[in-house]
Amino acid sequence: MSLYTYSLLSIVGINIMLAVSLNMITGFCGQFSLGHGAFYGAGAYAAALCAVAGYPVPVALIAGAVVAGILGFVVGFASVRLREDFLAVTTIGVSFLFVGFVRKQHWLGAEMGISKIPGSGLGAEGNAVMILLFAAATIAFSLYLNRSWLGFAFRAVGDDEQAARTVAIPASSYKLLAFALGTAIAGLAGGLYTYFTQFIVPDSFGFILSVTLMAMVVIGGTGSTWGVVAATIILTLLPEVFRFINDYRLLIFGGLLVLVTRFAPGGLAGIVNSLTRRLRRA
């Protein structure tokens, strides 16, 4: 396989980790977050600093996950304190704040980012395999989560927080955990991205990325792991397969978002579900 294929596979794997982890927060637990890119960035920067300082790969990856998870936990407090609409706007704020902050930090390379990051030593192929393994693990974890009592309670909190409290579910703890878990996975993806590119700049983690991830979740079907994975693969590969699309990338993206929310709010998963139901009836 070519270097190009490995890099495509790596990007798909990273995007799957990001979208599936965002789906844990938004799809499973009902907490709207438009700042997922910031946690991904925090993980990437933490891992990059570790790698540059000479720490081994596992340490850097764990550092990425932990830093992002802690940050996510802190932002999660906003979800405890604020009503829904305020939370959406606050996480948008987190997104802009992260990029605006990093851009001005000299110890993080400011606008120029961090370059000459040591490689993982696995080569392009090894990196792609590592990333895909982590992506597979993320999917498996997401599927497990949805079946576990944690996922069960997440659904209750997403449906009706107040009602969840009346069946002894401490909704705030659940929301914090959803944020911590989802953002830690995003941070891990950030660490993998760092080893993949060996060069990071603040603008890779901005608001557009956060919106793109939310689009993958919504188009795939909020709450459906497989739907989100499918949407992620399609939306990541489409512009690569059809080169001309690249010029109209955002136009198509925005258009898809409008069409899906307008005509199929359940996303791909919703469409597939209603099709299979219709087939079964026929």
């Binding site: 009503r83 001005k104 109209y248 136009l251 925005g254 978002l257 709010p265």
Partner: protein, 293 residues
Amino acid sequence: MDPDPVYYVDLTLNGLIFGAMYALMAIGLTLVYGLLRILHIAHAAVYAFGAFITVIVANATGSIALGIVVAIVASALLGPAIYRLLYEPLLKHPPYVAMIASMGLLIFMEDGFRILFGEQGLTFTRNPYPTEIHQLFGVTINTVQIAMIVLSVVCLTALALFTTRTRVGVAWRATVSNPTIATSFGVDAIKVRYLNFMIGSALAALAGALIALLNNFVEPSMGFVVSYKALAIIVLGGLGSMRGTLIASLALGLVESFGTILVGSYLDRDALAFLFLIIVLMVRPQGLTGARA
């Protein structure tokens, strides 16, 4: 730092002017949110639309005033069309669905502007106003800035008078802050929705036109950051309150203006706005002026 007091007057004036533009933008969002509980992010696309129409018409006819009027009228039609075609069918879903759709529409329209008018956007062929400098009480100010102050004061005062002094206005405002009240006032709630989108969009177009004049150009992405800042403003203002929105707009203008000077080396202007938002929300979860739920 510059000890000259005029410098601070300058910063204050600049902050207030930006605040006034934010207010023109954000009033529309507040109106929509108050009535429909939708975060109408695509409002910024209407603002950019207004700016583009202004430049196109002004360049074609040679009259900037005509450009502004056409922009306002066209936007006042676009806003209600967005409501009718996009939001109305989504009202039965949870509010985040409409918000995502709105975000999609903003991205779609922005990229559409880029494809139609190019990455660089458009410039006025003849626009003398930003370079017409006046000295007022020792402060330097250009014609566009004066127009910004005068027009926003006129529009916001007219809106305030309309909503406090006329029967229709009072009913309208009551409906915005409590939609269920509409019927008891004998107001047609559906008409109020269209009115909201019309007035809000017209004000946004005016803001877009003025900003275009000030910068002497329009670019496809001009609405991008503004849209999210306007969201931050209506949240700061306590969501759904026009007075709160006005206060939050001016406060944000001032914070940005002074903050860029004071802490500009640690944070950029946009980050500063959201830092302000987050700090305020953590201290007062109900916003700057909102009452406790």
